[in-house]
Amino acid sequence: MTSLAVTYTKSLKRFQSVIALLVLCIVLGLLTDKFFTTANGLNVLRQVAVNACIATGMTLIVLTAGIDLSVGSVLALCGAITAGLLKNGLQFASLDLYVGFTIAGAIIAGVIVGGLLGLFNGFTITSFKVPPFVATLAMLTIARGFTMLYTAGHPISNLGDQFAYIGTGSLSGIPVPVWIAAAVVLLAVFITQKTKLGRYIYAIGGNETAAKLSGIRINRVKLIVYSMGAAFAAIGGIIVTSRLDSAQPNAGISYELDAIAAVVIGGTSLSGGKGSVWGTVIGAVIIGVLNNGLVLLNVSPFWQQVVKGAVILLAVIIDKAGEKNE
């Protein structure tokens, strides 16, 4: 191959998920009239926002060659805590004390709880050498159990119009969840591309031994990364709760799968060290567009699942094929 062709295929590979997204959009645009409308576009973005938040955190974790299966449960628990604090506050009957929460206070508390759950994941992974898959699988169950305990199995609803603005409102014509997701994404892009922490994340995923020998405090980086991943999931949980005006005990079930799918479709390697947050964003949008398109085309929900699975497989196969040619 000439060097020009090599450069060409390399840049092609780099943008293959963007190209796939464009092709998908064009095909859907040709098949339905409704796809290319502003309303539908904003709708897709609004739906993508939650997964984008979770998947962005997941990307940071996967880049260190880890994984977090607990994000769906963490999302539910943190959403429920935010809703609960907002509605009922904290009551300490024995002390005859009641602490009320503003919207901001409740949100911050929810995100902090998320961060702590992630910190616990990181703690079991680094201190007891529990494989991330197992540690976060355990957290998946634990956090879901606490959600059930906290909500007693019932939704916490009627949280007020102001809180509902987070999930349903718009700012400058763009849905608020999209702004939030954008902020999360930009923060993660900044971290991965411009900071020491970002370099460390890639280094650990690329070669943990070499990273350790380079003086990187591996455990510290992992604690930060798992905390961030769970905090981002908590933010997703607050958006979901606000949009439904209700914290559902069953919220977020199997959300980890969509998040991992977005990461993988976006070209991040599950073995770590390779990939990007931008790729994940494209991956999340591809999944969102696909969901939306299949609904617009009246495809049965059963078939939708089959198609989504096939797309994930295809994305990874194309990615691997590209690697072999190099």
């Binding site: 900044f190 411009k194 900071t195 020491k196 370099r199 460390y200 890639y202 280094a203 690329g206 070669n207 031994t209 070499a210 990273a211 350790k212 020998l213 380079s214 003086g215 990187i216 405090r217 060290g273 390779k274």
Partner: protein
């Protein structure tokens, strides 16, 4: 007979083998001799079906053969016993020997009894008295090696390639291995023997082939050539390093290691390092010599804080006691370690030269305490690419695209960037070509002149003699000698390396 005709092999443009021609004779021990990177293992990988893309022909029993995988080579009767043994530690001896070719009964159930019987028979041929049910992990390295040979015998191999078979076994085990090699030889097997230990080759080998820089230099009967002639053919050119005298008497102490011991992480009674003490002065290069398993690497790792749980003893840097519990602590104390295996421990191969070098000093490359300054980083990278003359198209090139010597320079650069007082080098010239080797020696000398203290672990005695000011010798976890270089000889160092006092 196994022969190579005009074999050439390139790895992404780099020539590994150039027109290799050689013949390996049945009923003989054929020694393949050459320095690191001469092409020995590449050639063996072609013979054993690991590398399938090459130019030229392999003639085996008067037929042209081309193996498309290792299984085909094995079926044809070519077995290779790698330096890192290919056994599954938690399976039994018998299970390992029959791995991938298990004997089953009519229902497809494993026939343990028959496999154990046959294993017993094979092991008795090799004078190895162990139960076929013993797990490999419980055997000594020498015994594991015999199990590998048993595997080869079971597959009815007529060519047995042994890659550095004595690198990790005791003298007694070597004697036993040689008896078995002689026995195999008398059965008409072709033995291909790769080793750096020339003395050993004169004992066991019948024929020799010398490889250098991927070409065959010479071949013939072992008794027609002398030790010195062989060395000359291997190296081709003599490497001369100018020795610069350093006045050590006035130099201040940089590092003092006091009574360092290291316990085995599992076998708590075993000591990997046993009360080791020495000092390193400003501007001094200490050579650290020992055979494989002597504990050299472990000593470097312990000083660098990699064994906080099992190590004991005291480390003083510039006369101040330092608590070194992690590499980060070691770096803070001014210590740097260039590890033994640059691909596994030194580099992040798929990442850029730039990221690899700056990883140790990102703290210093920050601006506003928050984000990395690409300007500062570029300055640092350009400085080291120039200083060490790293051959790369740019700092953004992935480390894996560079040659061994240039990769080693990246690892050196990332450590020099930390401005260490003490530089630990573990086999710094392994797998590095001769040109880069000379550059690394020169760099070490100039760093020492600037006042750095250097400890260099090496398995190559000539290298130790040429570069160090003082030599430390280790044997089985103990420090057996600490002598100024001008007062010692190659054979004296070896003596200390082989025998404990």
């Amino acid at each position: 007979m196994l022969a190579a005709k005009n074999i050439s092999k390139k790895f992404s443009g780099v020539i590994a083998l150039a027109n290799i021609n050689l013949e390996l004779h049945p009923g003989k021990v054929n020694a393949i001799i050459g320095e690191n990177g001469a092409g020995k293992s590449t050639l063996m990988k072609i013979f054993s079906g690991v590398h399938t893309q090459y130019e030229g022909e392999i003639i085996y029993n008067n037929q042209l053969v081309k193996f498309s995988n290792t299984k085909e080579a094995e079926q044809a009767g070519i077995a290779i016993i790698h330096q890192e043994l290919n056994l599954v530690p938690y399976l039994s001896v018998a299970e390992n020997i029959f791995l991938g070719r298990e004997i089953t009964n009519a229902f497809g159930i494993l026939d343990r009894k028959q496999m154990n019987e046959r294993t017993k028979h094979l092991l008795s041929r090799l004078n190895l008295n162990v139960n076929p049910d013993t797990r490999i992990a419980e055997l000594k390295v020498g015994q594991q090696q015999l199990v590998e040979i048993a595997r080869a015998l079971y597959s009815n191999a007529s060519v047995i390639i042994m890659d550095e078979p004595t690198s990790a076994i005791s003298d007694k085990e070597v004697d036993n291995l040689f008896t078995i090699i002689n026995q195999l030889k008398s059965e008409g097997k072709t033995i291909v023997y790769i080793s750096h230990k020339l003395k050993e080759l004169f004992t066991i080998a019948d024929r020799f082939v010398v490889l250098r820089d991927g070409s065959t230099i010479d071949s013939g009967d072992m008794h027609t050539i002398s030790h010195d002639q062989l060395i000359h053919k291997m190296t081709g050119r003599k490497l001369t390093i100018e020795r610069t005298g350093i006045t050590l008497t006035v130099a201040e102490e940089l590092l003092a290691v006091k009574n360092i011991s290291l316990r085995h992480p599992v076998l708590r009674e075993t000591k990997i390092l046993d009360t080791i003490s020495f000092t390193l002065h400003k501007g001094e290069i200490l050579g650290l010599y020992g055979l494989m398993g002597a504990g050299r690497t472990e000593l470097m790792e312990t000083i660098f804080g990699l064994h906080p749980k099992n190590a004991s003893g005291e480390i003083c840097v510039s006369k101040i006691v330092r608590r070194i519990q992690s590499p980060a602590d070691a770096i803070d104390a001014g210590i740097a370690l260039v590890p033994e295996d640059r691909k596994l421990q030194g580099l992040i191969l798929n990442q850029s030269v730039k990221s690899n070098i700056s990883i140790t000093v990102l703290q210093k490359l920050q601006q506003w305490g928050l984000m990395l300054s690409s300007r500062k980083e570029k300055k640092l990278i350009d400085h080291f690419i120039n200083k060490l003359s790293i051959k790369t198209s740019s700092g953004n090139n992935a480390a894996e695209n560079l040659s061994g010597g240039n990769q080693q320079k990246i690892v050196l650069a990332k450590w020099l960037a930390t401005n260490p007082k003490i530089l630990l080098l573990d086999e710094p010239t392994r797998g590095v070509d001769i040109g880069a080797k000379a550059e690394i020696y020169k760099l070490m000398k100039s760093l020492a002149t600037e006042g750095m203290g250097i400890i260099m672990v090496s398995s190559e005695l000539p290298e130790i003699l040429a570069v160090s000011d003082r030599v430390l010798v280790m044997c089985e976890g103990e420090l057996t000698a600490n002598i100024p270089i001008e007062k010692t000889t190659e054979s004296e160092i070896l003596k200390y390396a082989i025998h404990k006092n």
